[in-house]
């Protein structure tokens, strides 16, 4: 592991941004993240949260599920959204929700109030960018924990371990998308509908954890890449990205860490 990487072959190393467990963010970090999301939601153009939410389902429907593109597409998705949030508040990163260990939705995403206002991470309006609202479209995000009877609830420790035991990309991808599906369905409400799920900010904490799982698995299985015949495939994002460009998180400028402690040096 490392905390720096070269953005280009001859460039000087720069420090990677670290995505952290939502439960380990400092009060300032959490407040900054909320501010970034809130400011992003106020933008009714291609910089804004609603634009990115619309990539996944209504209106654009670009997401990939239940196939080998699932992990690369969502990694690219988070990458572009995170940059947009950093344009609002420099330095913020997408936190992850470790549903392999935690029961229930993290309080950062479930408390109704935060920083003296409605918690922007708990409920969000759904204003589809550049579209005329149709009958039946939800106006705000909702959650209905366990609305589908007999859906296993987190923590998904066994499912996580099962995915990590995979020895091929195909097996890992399928096992992790299965537990990913389970979390979506367990949360219920708009999170359980592909077309609306990404309007809920908790979607991105969920997917940051899926992406973290892939990162951990990759570190344990170097070279275990997606099938060769999809490595040059373009992923539908804006801008587009090819599958091979998603394989190395350091080339995307980030890393995951359980903890991080830094002190000043002697210079």
């Amino acid at each position: 592991m490392t905390i720096t990487a070269r953005p280009a072959p001859n460039a000087a190393p720069v420090r990677l941004k670290v995505r952290k467990n939502i439960d380990s963010l400092s009060a300032q970090e959490l407040s900054d993240f909320r501010r970034a999301v809130k400011q992003s939601m106020a933008l009714n153009d291609k910089r804004g949260f609603e634009y990115f939410a619309g990539w996944h389902g209504v209106p654009l429907g670009w997401c990939q599920h239940h196939d080998p593109l699932f992990l690369p597409w969502h990694r690219a998705y988070l990458y572009w959204l995170e940059l947009a949030l950093q344009s609002e508040v420099p330095g913020v990163t997408l936190p992850w929700w470790d549903w392999s260990k935690s029961a229930g939705i993290p309080s950062a995403y479930s408390s109704a109030q935060a920083d003296g206002a409605d918690n922007v991470l708990a409920k969000a309006p759904i204003n589809v960018l550049n579209a005329t609202r149709k009958s039946g479209w939800p106006t705000e995000t909702s959650r209905a924990l366990g609305e589908v009877p007999n859906t296993p609830a987190p923590p998904y420790q066994q499912e996580w371990a099962n995915a990590m035991q995979a020895t091929t990309y195909a097996d890992f991808s399928q096992r992790i998308w299965t537990v990913h599906d389970t979390l979506h369905v367990w949360v219920g409400g708009t999170m359980a509908q592909v077309d609306w799920a990404a309007y809920d900010p908790v979607f991105f904490a969920h997917h940051a954890n899926v992406d973290r799982a892939w990162r951990i698995w990759q570190a344990a299985h170097p070279g275990a890449n997606p099938p060769a015949n999809i490595l040059d495939q373009s992923l539908q994002t804006d801008p587009a990205m090819q599958v091979h460009q998603t394989l190395d998180v350091h080339q995307l400028g980030y890393e995951y860490a359980g903890t991080q402690a830094t002190v000043a040096g002697s210079a």
Partner: protein, 144 residues
């Protein structure tokens, strides 16, 4: 709850395989999200049946689905390619294949059993009794 039980699937001798998968081919995901619990040789399994090895429980799969059609007329119809040079991405509602590894559950059955049936209990939020799980074929795959 929807209950579906397969016809008999041939099972090779225990010495002939190390891993066994059930492959649900062509799973539709244009409706409500659902969870499916799978039992082997237990066609009477129902919601109250304990999901335990004694009941020949093999595991579960969950399908994060689209829920409804939110676009204009035809939005959710899966089109045919309009040309041999049609390089647009596949329609997002194309059915997919879902795999459930059942090695432990299958190995726990008596050796030489010869065949199994698969019973699926499928649940969605609407408590539908039909149409929750829709798929084309079920295959038992074993690997040496």
């Amino acid at each position: 709850m929807q209950r579906w039980t397969s016809q008999a699937l041939a099972v090779p001798p225990r010495t002939a395989w190390q891993r066994a998968d059930l492959e649900f081919e062509g799973v539709e995901h244009d409706g409500a999200s659902f969870v499916m619990h799978v039992f082997l040789n237990n066609p009477d399994a129902d919601e109250a049946t304990p999901r335990t090895p004694e009941q020949r429980y093999a595991g579960y799969l969950t399908v994060f689905a689209h829920g409804d059609c939110w676009g204009d007329v035809g939005h959710c119809d899966i089109p045919e390619p309009v040309s041999a040079f049609d390089r647009r991405p596949p329609h997002p509602l194309l059915p997919f294949d879902a795999t459930l590894e059942i090695s432990e559950a299958l190995a726990a059955l008596p050796d030489g059993i010869g065949e199994i049936t698969v019973t699926v209990l499928a649940f969605n939020k609407n408590d539908d009794t039909d149409g929750v799980l829709r798929f084309k074929e079920l295959t038992l795959l074993t690997y040496a």
